[in-house]
Amino acid sequence: MLKDITLGQYFPGTSPIHRLDPRTKLILLIVYIVALFLAQGWVGYGVLLAFLLFTIKISTIPPRSILRGMKPIVMILVFTGVLNLFFTREGKTLLNIADVIIVTEGGLTRAVMMMARILMLITGTFLLTYTTSPISLTDGLEALLNPLKKIGVPVHELSMMMCIALRFIPTLIEETDKIMSAQKARGADFENGSLMDRARALIPILVPLFIGAFRRADELATAMECRCYQGGEGRSKMKILRYHLGDMKAFGMGFGLLILVGALAALGL
């Protein structure tokens, strides 16, 4: 089912993670990603994994939903794993089939680490979109990018575009679902047949979907015009972002994590 795609979906809640300032979450996500790429050995990864699991735990997002969100990246994961496993030749040979398929100790370690890295990267990113509503996310992004306005980057417009795009993902998924059901009711078959057949079977979905998207865009533009929308110039905010005590604690933990992982990496752990 299409509904199972949870990419970019927001789970409403009131956990400490939900309550953090979006700017905090954005900065800490970057810190976390940097730490993830700094990590060299198992200890470093272990610390990061512990941090990630702790964050998931207090975010009250059901782990099953996070796992379900992983579905689309399974292919990338397998691909990365296989490539690293067979094409890294370091250390002791573990398996050698006719000198063609060679699995080395270094390759195995690398494959597992790369997969763990991707998995933890995606999970961390998901956690941000799961606990932050699209509006506060773009608010945070706009606030962080604000300095770029000085060099002429249309920050407000960009964040508005992102906000609208994020906002319409669930709507479009829902609409796709509806159109698919309707075409299935007329006997359309999306599961069987050759690759060409299946590609052709997408036409009855894509045409109405695009027409619907344009119609929606048009309606939205009209609605914005009616409310005298004119971009970021002189626009005030209903919710003004402020850092709280929780944000300070989160920053402390995040940068602590970065230093710890960095130190471990320097020691080669």
């Binding site: 939903s65 299935k184 007329r186 006997g187 078959d189």
Partner: protein, 288 residues
């Protein structure tokens, strides 16, 4: 009594099981539909009507319970499930948003083509279906996107009718149309039902329409089937309906008021009955 064309027993359906969005959409629903019946489905938004309809042609698989089409469980065999899609035609809400082909003709032909029919049979069905909904020969060759809203809706309904389903299910087929458009669509549905002795199930928010057209009403409330009775009987439970967020036809309301004022009138639920009732009263007075 012959076997009912559709029989639903103890149907349950849960959306997004195991997530925070888990929601029981159908709760132990059972009913049977006989061939040729015109059934109305009424219920407040979110009462499970749309979910129920998608169960009947095998688009959604019940969490538990059975759906028998002509006595056979539609989920017992893959072939039967696929057949159910064609034998039970489902017209979604705002079906005009699902048009995609270059011409009206080809869009109506989409369903029959998926059934694997011969070219002549497809042609016959497309023309016949177009006839039922009043689409002219010239309109068959234009792009569906050049038609008006009401005409698009007719084309979309023809697309389902062209599969010649034994059971035709429609989700609010007249939503968002002007009175002339509404009347036209309802007539189209009725003419298809007459011509093919088809069973029709229609979701509607218009109490007037269901009172006038249907033989029996299924009333959905909070995922449960609250009532299953002819309109005349359903509309005697005015208070209950109101508590479900539904209403009774205006004319029924007026006659209930008349009766409480002491007029000697029986319950009516269509304009025609109301006329007959008033005639009877006046006639009675003239003789007195």
């Amino acid at each position: 009594m012959s076997t009912p064309i559709l029989e639903v027993t103890n149907l349950n359906y849960i959306y997004s099981a195991g997530t925070p969005f888990e929601h029981k959409a159908l709760d132990n629903v059972s009913f049977a539909v006989n061939k040729g019946e015109f059934i109305g489905i009424i219920g407040h938004t979110g009462s499970g009507k749309s979910t129920l309809m998608q169960q009947l042609n095998g688009l959604l698989k019940p969490t538990s319970g059975r759906i028998l089409l002509d006595g056979q469980d539609i989920w017992s065999d893959r072939k039967l499930t696929r057949q159910a899609r064609f034998r039970v035609g489902l017209v979604f809400q705002y079906p005009e948003y699902q048009l995609f082909e270059e011409t009206v003709y080809r869009d109506i032909a989409f369903g029959p083509k998926n059934m694997g029919l011969s070219a002549e049979e497809i042609d016959r069905r497309v023309r016949e279906a177009a006839g039922f909904v009043g689409i002219t020969e010239e309109q068959l060759q234009v792009s569906p996107f050049d038609l008006s809203g009401g005409q698009k809706r007719r084309v979309a309904i023809a697309g389902v009718i062209a599969m010649e389903p034994e059971v035709l299910i429609l989700d609010e087929p007249t939503a968002g149309l002007d009175p002339v458009g509404r009347e036209g669509i309802l007539k189209n549905i009725e003419s298809y039902r007459r011509a093919k002795n088809a069973t029709v199930m229609m979701v509607s928010h218009s109490m007037e329409d269901v009172a006038r057209l249907t033989d029996r009403l299924l009333v959905m409330n909070g995922s449960k089937l609250a009532m299953d009775a002819p309109p005349a009987e359903v509309f005697t439970h005015a208070e209950e309906l109101v508590s479900m967020g539904l209403a009774i036809p205006q004319v029924t309301e007026i006659f209930l008021q008349l009766r409480s004022l002491g007029a000697d009138v029986s319950n009516v639920y269509t304009i025609r009955q109301a006329v007959a009732e008033i005639r009877r009263l006046k006639g009675g007075n003239a003789h007195a």
